[in-house]
């Protein structure tokens, strides 16, 4: 199969680099030549241990042309986490850039996995058309970096279904000059904010993710490059609204906010700052190819949690989260009645990589159980009210408590642990942790902190710790993380900085 390449231009607005269509074709061809020389072919998996720059997109399309599956990896992960993901996915090789940390590169090379700098393209251009519609195209790890990795696998078919679904609902002209400030290793930033416009022929402006110094300059950048569309997450908007001068030239035609629910107040503030009424929540889940529901016409009154209608998806609210039996009409909630949000879409993932057990727990008869709680209003629009997913949403970055638990459980002095979400004024949620230690002395606490620093990416480190005697469990032995959090918040957390300071002082 040939990959249509009606892509737009690629621009780094803060770095000043730009590739036109001819540049892009050449850069892809060089990398196809390099991958062919390295023996990359159909069904191979390749890690992309970098992102948010022009070369990332050339690597991605080149891999697809060769029939391989691209696996973008968060370069902030520790060497331990990257090695664990590599053990699960067995990549044929890893593409890195000059900002990829040395630690992960070293462990991958020790494991016999070849690393290739993205700048090393060679000079032999080549063409390839080895991809088929049902080949694996993309794998995105959503959790399990410290334990059993959970990789969402999308085929070319499911990705194309996502983009076709979006094209049916969203005004193409609004995406003509799209800005992405989100990481390219997760669904929202990659599949929808970047690839949807770019592969629809629109120009893509890509920046490093989550950089406050760039956020404060965003209004000027929007004006300079006549940006028509951007998507982001609530914490970035809070920062921009506070510190960045708004754009003056009225180029923005549409703005999405995703990865975390948008309040009506923030929604209206964003409209004022951006100068466009077309601002809406874009409800997305990696398993459904990210954006799966929202407002076609976004100039409606803002409401807390209002999402809208399915984009290339059927949205149902059901009174069950049971995926072990077929769904039936009796499961449907009435208008206004809260229940579990289920989705049916041709853009649904192929499944979790080599984890049919997990896939079976999430999907029944093609319906995906999101774990979100919501209702359909009088107009049939989805409104979100909460979630029952076991995850911490730190400013749109999904952190899974089990990943933290898995690291702490392996620390010899720890006998039990429970990580949970804490309310946070900036990120929405932050990470808290209750831990039971055999030895609760400061030496052991410092040792645990050092252990976690080695094994856990910085953004997953708990900001508050509680030392408790036992983790409360249900009669069936399950942890209720909300109950643990409530119990912890009855007393002050450990003063970890002071404990570490005492340890460091002579």
């Amino acid at each position: 199969m040939l990959i249509d390449l009606h892509c737009g231009e690629l621009i780094e607005p803060f770095g000043g680099r730009r590739w036109n269509r001819a540049d892009i074709r050449r850069q892809i061809a060089l990398r196809v030549g390099r991958f062919q020389e390295l023996g990359v072919g159909p069904h191979d998996r390749v890690f992309l241990l970098f992102g948010n720059r022009l070369e990332f997109f050339a690597e991605l399309v080149a891999l697809w042309k060769c029939g391989a599956c691209a696996i973008p990896i968060d370069a902030r992960l520790t060497a331990f986490e990257v090695e664990n993901l590599a053990r699960a996915a067995a990549p044929k090789l890893v593409v890195v850039d000059d900002a990829t940390p040395a630690g992960p590169i070293k462990v991958l090379e020790q494991a016999g996995i070849r690393t290739v700098p993205t700048a090393d393209t060679g000079s032999a251009e080549a063409e390839a058309a080895r991809v088929q519609l049902d080949h694996d195209a993309l794998m995105l790890f959503t959790s399990g970096s410290t334990g059993d990795p959970k990789g969402v696998v999308h085929t070319h078919r499911s990705l194309r279904a996502r983009w076709a679904g979006l094209r049916d609902h969203l005004p193409a002209a609004a995406f003509a000059r799209s800005l992405c400030m989100l990481p390219t290793h997760f669904g929202h930033g990659l599949i929808c904010n970047s690839l949807f416009p770019w592969l629809s022929g629109c120009d893509l402006f890509i920046t490093p993710p989550f950089r406050p110094d760039l956020v404060t300059r965003i209004g000027a950048a929007i004006d300079e490059h006549a940006i028509t569309f951007m998507s982001s997450v609530p914490p970035i908007w809070k920062l921009a609204l506070k510190l960045a001068k708004p754009p003056q030239r009225g180029s923005l035609q549409r703005v999405h906010v995703g990865s975390a629910p948008l309040s009506a107040a923030l929604w209206n503030d964003i409209r004022t700052w951006t100068g466009t009424p077309h601002v809406c929540n874009a409800y997305g889940i990696t398993e459904t190819g990210s954006w799966v529901a929202g407002l076609d016409r976004a100039d409606v009154p803002a409401e807390d949690g209002l999402i809208g209608y399915g984009w290339g998806a059927v949205v149902k609210v059901l009174n069950t989260d049971d995926t072990s039996r077929p769904l039936c009409p009796e499961n449907e909630c009435k208008t206004g009645e809260s229940g579990y949000v289920w989705l049916n879409t041709p853009a649904l993932m192929k499944g979790y990589f080599r984890r049919d057990d997990l896939t079976a727990k999430a999907v029944v008869d093609g319906w995906f159980m999101t774990g979100d709680i919501g209702f359909l209003d009088d107009l049939g629009r989805l409104v979100l009210r909460g979630r029952e997913r076991d995850e911490i949403n730190k400013g749109g970055m999904k952190i899974y408590p089990s990943d933290i638990d898995a690291v702490v459980e392996r620390y010899p002095a720890a006998s039990d642990v429970c990580a949970f979400a804490l309310d946070d004024p900036i990120y929405g949620q932050a990470v808290g942790m209750a831990v039971v230690l055999h030895d609760s002395g400061e030496e052991a606490i410092c040792g645990l902190h050092a252990w976690m620093k080695v094994h856990l990416a910085e953004h997953k480190m708990p900001s508050r710790w509680w030392l408790i005697d036992a983790i409360p469990r249900t009669s069936r032995g399950k942890i209720n993380r909300d109950a643990v959090k409530a119990a912890c918040q009855q007393k002050p957390p450990l003063d970890i900085p002071s404990i570490l300071a005492r340890k460091m002082s002579p």
Binding site: P212, D213, T216, K238, L239, G395, M461, L500
Partner: protein, 86 residues
């Protein structure tokens, strides 16, 4: 160092303790150490510093604007407060 600046410094250190990450004691930082690069806070915590300065010193950032560089160190924050007090 004048007494006002020292008092503001102590108040600022007290605030930074409430938002800092666990890795490094705030007392170990000099006035010129970079708060984010040192690992004391993460980059988006700048928003909490802005809110602290607004509520504690009545600084209106929507009028004066700010660059993250100005808020990048303890000394930089104290300088900014002093500029606004003039």
């Amino acid at each position: 160092m004048n007494q006002d600046r020292e008092a503001r410094r102590q108040a600022l250190l007290g605030f930074l303790r409430t938002i800092q990450k666990a890795g490094r004691p705030v007392e170990s930082l000099s006035d010129t150490d970079r708060l984010v690069a040192s690992g004391l806070i993460d980059s988006l915590a700048i928003l909490q510093i802005v809110t602290y300065l607004e509520t504690t010193y009545g600084i209106d950032f929507s009028i004066r604007g700010v660059s993250p560089e100005e808020l990048g160190s303890i000394g930089g924050i104290l300088d900014l407060i002093e500029q606004e007090k003039k």
